[in-house]
Structure formats: C-alpha cells, structure tokens
Amino acid sequence: MIVRADKIAQQLEKPDNPSDPLIIRPLPNIEELKTSGSASIDMRLGCWFQVFRGPRVSHFDVYDNTLTPPSESQLTKHHYVPFGKPFVLHPRAFVLAVTLEWIRLPSGFAGEVVGRSSWGRHGLIIATATGVHPGFTGCLTLELTNLGEVPITIKPGTTICQLFLHTVLAGDPKNVDKSRFVGRRTPTLGAIKLDKIALKLSEEVH
C-alpha cells in the first residue's frame, strides 16, 4: 500500500517504532508534507556524479568468465559538483547521480524512485532501477539520461525525483536489504552477478 505524504510526515516526526524509524536527512518540510495531498516525497539532486569512461573500455560482457571484470574505477570516474555549480547533461549522455537526501527505510517500508514529469517532458529520465528495499540506508543512486534534443543544466539541490513509499507485509525485521549499495553517500555502480541458472543458460550448446 502506498503511504501518503501526511503519513510519511507522521512517521518522520513520530515513528511507529522508534528503534526502527523512517529517516530522511535533510529533513523535508514537514508542514508541506502534511498538506501536500501527494503520495510521494520529493528528492533533491546531490553533489556526486559518476560518469562512464567509454574510451577506456572496449565492451561490457558479464558472460565472459575468462576476463577479469573491470573495477568500478576502471569503468567510471567520480565528479563532485558543489552547490551553486552546474552539471550539463548532453543528449544521449548517461550518468549516475545521487540524491541529496540520505534515506533510512524501516523494515516495514519499501520504496520506489520515480522521475518528475516536469523533468521527463524535457527529456530527463531519472531512474531505471527504482526499487528500494526494506532496511536500505544511504543516498539513492540515480541513473540520469537525457533523451531530449538539447543539453540540460542541473544543479545540486534541485528537486529531481520523487520517492513513493509502500508498506510491506510483516516479515522477519532482521531480514533486510544487505546490498553493497547500503550506507553510501556517493553513486555506486555495483557489479552484475549472474545466478547459477543464468550462468547455465548462458552456456553455448554444441
């Protein structure tokens, strides 16, 4: 069930379970949340970006186990854009960014990151991998791409996406998200790991 903004405000002010609270920092404007009538919470663009080093990588092939997978620093380069400075996203460019807000989801909540339609209509797509699991804590990595025809200037601090929160059916509160993306303030590329089935199916049959 999607949680309405006034309920989110309530959770932020006075969590149902103080030992496992919903936390968003910097704290959004609680009064605005209470009266917005929306079912999401706006997220701002953070200061860190991660740009792919296209010229240094021939291709990306997770199936070729004869190759050592390239490290994150081989594939990408971090950029820090301070408040007040622009980042220009050119048409067809793809970069990782991060939310300004640090989110901590309690075990009873999951989230979904969605772009803002106002940006989307200008060609800016915010996120493709949108699920945020219970227990996640950290800044959310965003996948930004400009599908429009003209370059787009963005600055840290701009509201760029929205987070929908869902309540999840009760389970073991200790069974929470343990991904490597947890607890980070910068965008994280992560590695693609194939499961046994995918590995088996990816083998060529002669």
């Binding site: 920092r25 343990k178 607890g183």
Partner: protein, 410 residues
C-alpha cells in the same frame, strides 16, 4: 643574453600550464583564485624580466634572473598542491566547515585550500606572496578520511601563531629560558664543546653565540608545535587526541628531530591540557607513543636537551595563548549533548540533521569508531564496510550542515 630569454620562456611555460589548469573542475572557487594569484605573480615576474633587457649590466641581469628562478622553484610545488586539491579522493564536504573555522580563527579574508599530498605528514604551507591563502595538505590515502580532519586544528594553529606574532612575543622568554638551562645543568657539557664560553660572554661574544643559538631555534619551533597541538585540542577535544594518535603513534623509529618536541612529550602535554579543558584523554595515552632514539651528534643532542628544558618552562604560557585566542575568536568546542545526539543518529546508520559544528560531528565519529559493538545488530552493514559507512555518515552530516548554512537556517 640567453639566460634572460630562458628565464622568460620558463615563466611563459608555467603560465601556459596555469591557463590549462584553469579549465579543470574545481570543487570550490578558491582553488581557481589560487591559480589566478599564481598567474599574477608569474606575470609580474615576466614583466620584470622584460624590463631587464634594457640593462647593460650582466651581473644585475644574472642576479634578477636567479631571483625569478628561485620564485619558480618555490612555487612549483604549490602548483602541484593546487592540482591535487581538485582530486575526487579528497573529502570535499569537509571544505565548507573547515573554511568557516579558518575564517573564524584567521579573519574573514582567509582563503583555504585542502589538498592530498604525497607526503605522510599533514602540513601547512604559508606563502608570502599569497598572504591570505592557507594551504593544508593531508596524506593522499587519508584525504577521504574525515576522522583525521581534526588535525586541521593543529595546522591552522601555525597560521594563528604567525598572525598573532606569538613567535615575536615569546622570543625574549625563550631566550631567557634557553640561557637559564644552558648556564644551569648543561653548563659543564656546553663548555666542553665551547671552552671560551663564560656566563658573561654568552650573549655578547660573536664566536660563542653561534654555539648555543640553534637551541633557541629548536625551542622556538618546539613551542610553536606545542601551541598548535593545544589549538587542535581546544577546538576538537577528544577527536584531536584520537587523530593525533592515529596518524603518529607509536612514532617513527630513528633519531629525534630537534625542531619537534619528542612525540612522548607532546602526548604528555596533551594529557595535561586535557585535564584543564575537561577533555576525556584515553587512559595510558602517552604509552601509545615510543620515545625516539637520542640524537647521535653530542653537540646537537645537548642543544636539543637545552631546548627541551626551555620549552618545558613555557608550555603553560603557549597553552594559555591557544585557549585564549580560541575563546576570543569564538571557536567551537565540543558540546557533549550534541555529540551524543549525533552518535545516536550514526548508530541508526543515518547522518545527523540540522547545523552542527565540524567539532561535534567528528567527535561523534570517533566515539562510533571506538565502539566495538557499533552496528553489530545492523545486518545491512558488513564488518568490512564499517569504516567506509562511518566516513560517509560524517561527510554527509557535514554536507547537511552546509545545506542549512546556505539556506540561512538558524
């Protein structure tokens, strides 16, 4: 004259490189301002070289070219420092609160550069041609570690020492204490090196003076180091003690360096001053450090002992100076209640909200760092990622402070 042309070409090459660097990505504007200041300095040097063509005296021209070459030698490492200040390995979120601290201590015109250095010892650069710039370098592989940023208190202390002209203030006392130590328990040994020395001619005989003046220089530098330690302790409290031990303990094997107090003595002074400030110094703090080996050269060893004795007499004075200056400038000191609140936030694996001082945030970080049970009940955080997560929480908390600062929040 070829050497004039060479000198000009060297500067033109340096200016061309600066112009290339001006197109770099700057995490804060003061890096670009430092480049522009350097470009101005080099351009002035080129102008003076151009005027030199008119002179007919080769010796004057050679001397002038030599001076400009010395300037280039002196400022090239500074250019490297500026370039490394842009590297994303640096903890850029520290910059804004560190600048605020520097301005509070040194004045509103202060410009700060934080950089990562291929030099293990954190240091401060002071450049006469760029008087408002404070440059603090930390070891490259620690430059993303916010926990050691409390050592910036020590480094800023060097600027305060210079700005407040404390060297000049304490020089007479240092000289007096050096002479007292020399004429007291060290006299017999001193006269074995300098048989012509008498109590009467110590300060008047031009052949005797050079024999003991190094002790004065050692004591002066040692006292400055102690003042800086006290400034770091006053601003950052426990976080300074931990960072000092993290970076320096147990000390580097080998001979004592006479321009620095022994690391054990520094630790002892820090312990004593902690009591004055109500700072909780870890039990057995001094024992974390090892005494350096004695200096091999008997004469230097003697002068170092004289300096140590002289310095010991003046520690209280520079400690009071550091505390007074920090108080007068309204520098923060850690607020235990606020630190505890931040610790509670970090324990939830969340940064703290609102405006907080760098002092409180880094102290909270150290408390968490020292807790064996930190996040043992948080399955999301794997043991091997704890340090990285803690660093990110500290840095995010500093960024959130800047966020509220920019909004003008109380």
């Amino acid at each position: 004259m070829d050497f004039i042309d060479y000198a000009k070409q060297r500067y033109e090459a340096a200016i061309a490189e600066i112009n290339r660097l001006k197109n770099s990505e700057f995490p804060y504007d003061q890096i670009r301002e430092a480049l522009v200041a350097l470009e101005d300095l080099f351009t002035r040097q080129v102008s003076s070289l151009k005027k030199l063509k008119l002179t007919s005296s080769p010796s004057i021209a050679k001397n002038a070219c030599g001076q400009t070459l010395a300037c280039l030698f002196g400022y090239t490492p500074f250019l490297g420092f500026i370039v490394r200040a842009t590297n994303v390995r640096n903890a850029f979120e520290v910059y804004s609160p560190a600048l605020r601290l520097a301005k509070q201590l040194l004045g509103p015109d202060t410009k700060l550069l934080l950089s990562s250095e291929w030099d293990y010892s954190p240091f401060i650069l002071m450049t006469p041609e760029l008087p408002n710039f404070v440059l603090i370098g930390v070891p490259a592989f620690e430059s993303s570690n916010p926990l050691i940023m409390s050592l910036a208190g020590h480094e800023l202390g060097h600027n305060a020492w210079s700005k407040e002209m404390l060297g000049r203030k304490h020089d007479p006392d240092i000289k007096k204490e050096v002479l007292t130590a020399l004429m007291g328990k060290h006299w017999a040994e001193f006269t074995s090196f300098q048989p012509t020395a008498t109590h009467a001619n110590l300060t008047t005989d031009m052949f005797v003076q050079p024999a003991w003046l190094p002790a004065f220089a050692y004591a002066s530098r040692q006292l400055e180091e102690i003042f800086c330690d006290m400034m770091g302790l006053r601003i950052f409290g426990e976080a300074f003690l931990h960072a000092f031990a993290y970076l320096l303990s147990p000390g580097i094997p080998g001979e004592r360096y006479p321009l620095y107090p022994s690391v054990v003595i520094r630790a002892r002074h820090l312990e004593a001053a902690s009591k004055l400030l109500g700072v909780d110094c870890p039990t057995g703090y001094q024992d974390l450090f090892s005494k350096e080996q004695d200096i091999t050269s008997p004469a230097t060893r003697l002068l170092c002992s004289v300096a140590d004795d002289a310095t010991a007499q003046l520690v209280d004075k520079v400690t009071k100076d550091a505390f007074r200056i920090a108080d007068d400038k309204g520098l923060p000191t850690r607020d235990p209640a606020k630190v505890q609140k931040i610790v509670e936030s970090f324990a939830m694996v969340a940064p703290t909200d609102g405006r907080n001082t760098m002092t409180d945030i880094i102290n909270a970080g150290w408390i968490c760092k020292k807790r064996d049970d930190l996040w043992t009940n948080v399955p999301q955080i794997r043991p091997e990622t704890k340090s990285q997560v803690l660093a990110d929480l500290i840095l995010k908390s500093l960024e959130i402070t800047e966020f509220y600062d920019r909004l003008g929040s109380p």
